[in-house]
Amino acid sequence: MSDTPTAAPGGGTGGSIRRSLRSTPSKRRKKKNQIPMGLAVLAFIVIGIVLLAGGSPLLAFFWLTGNVFGFVLQKTRFCFTAAMRDPYLTGGTSLAKAVLVALAVTSIGFVAIKYGAHAQGLPIPGQSFVVPVSLATVAGGTMFGIGMVISGGCASGTLMRVGEGFGMQMLSLFFFVVGSFWGARDFGWWTLHFIARGKAIFLPDIFGWLGAIVVQLAVIACLWIAADKWAKHKSAAEHQ
């Protein structure tokens, strides 16, 4: 299931790369087995679900899915920041491609749910996420892009890294909160000058339901191919 080989814990080099002895044994400290601590945290998570569910199943659901997202992000080392940054900085596009896959699969699920609601005459869920496009979108995206790269993590990535024990992201999280509060304070100004003049564009309104998902998947596919070609191009350039 893994694509990275690891040497057996506590074992010697065992691999094919010959190394001088000096760099191996001196480093090996006795490793603590953290599995018991992991199980304790798991117990905490489960207790949380049970306790919350008693009062509000919704809160229990949010707690559960939060833990699932955190677990999956950490286990797969999924990183939106790296997806956007690596094509430029290191030439790597594997995360960009993975993000594209996520966009595609989620889009399919979302359009099904939304269309189903529409077809049954029910209110469409999640439409509050269809927001006006304006200069605020441009400025916000750019600011967020800069911030996530220099701080070493996006929103989900920062939370994940706090859980992994990174002091830097704990600091970043605090200032993320400060910045968010500042942004909320200025939100009225941005609304007045830019957001109120923008339009929220729901793709099915332009292309129809089927058209919208087809166009979106086609764009994602093109980006995927571009990412693939980019990585090959960068790789070839390195070996000149």
Binding site: P9, T65, K75, A136, M143, G147, S172, V177
Partner: protein
């Protein structure tokens, strides 16, 4: 007892499924599954950063401040709401989800026996964390969300805003990379 855990640590199933990292595509699929589940159950996609503005408001309240005149928290179609703030942090679903992400990641790291507290190494890292955090927080509010809410959920919700935000995320990432190499390395 410690013998049992040490034996588990060497077991091939443990190593393959709990210790070693999983492929990125697996992540993409699993995140998608739970995004879809979230939309179906809660009526909204996944979002992360809106919660942080609420945390800021609660901290501000502790310091004696009030936000009831702020447009952002007016609550009729605005991203924030006074009503939610008044119910308190323990009743905020988004807070539970965000803290869940932290704990879930902690669990994943511990169960793989890979947890280590990484101290901040230099003033450069402090500057990067402070500046980066502020930019992300502010940018996420005016952009109606972060890499998850505005970009991932936005695009998946078939909103053009998601694509525009994403394009400029990329622009920002390039600028950030240049800054990173020049000042923060």
């Amino acid at each position: 007892m410690s013998n049992l855990f040490d034996r588990v640590k060497k077991h091939p199933y443990y190593v393959a499924y709990l210790k070693d990292a999983w492929p990125y595509i697996t992540g993409a699929v699993l995140l998608s599954v739970f995004q879809i589940v979230t939309l179906a159950v809660t009526g909204n996609p996944w979002g992360v950063s809106a919660v942080f503005a609420n945390w800021g408001a609660w901290l501000f309240k502790l310091a004696g401040g009030v936000v009831d005149k702020w447009y952002y928290f007016a609550g009729e179609g605005t991203p924030g709401s006074i009503a939610l703030l008044e119910r308190g942090v323990l009743q905020d679903p988004g807070t539970w989800r965000n803290v869940g992400i932290i704990v879930g990641a902690l669990f994943a790291t511990l169960i793989a026996s890979g947890f280590k507290f990484k101290k901040i190494k230099s003033w450069r890292q402090v500057a990067a964390a402070v500046l980066g955090g502020l930019l992300m927080g502010y940018g996420a509010r005016i952009g109606f969300g972060c890499n998850i809410g505005a970009f991932y959920s936005g695009i998946a919700s078939l909103s053009l805003s998601g694509w525009v935000f994403g394009a400029f995320l990329f622009v920002g990432a390039v600028i950030g990379s240049k800054l990173l190499v020049k000042y923060f390395m």
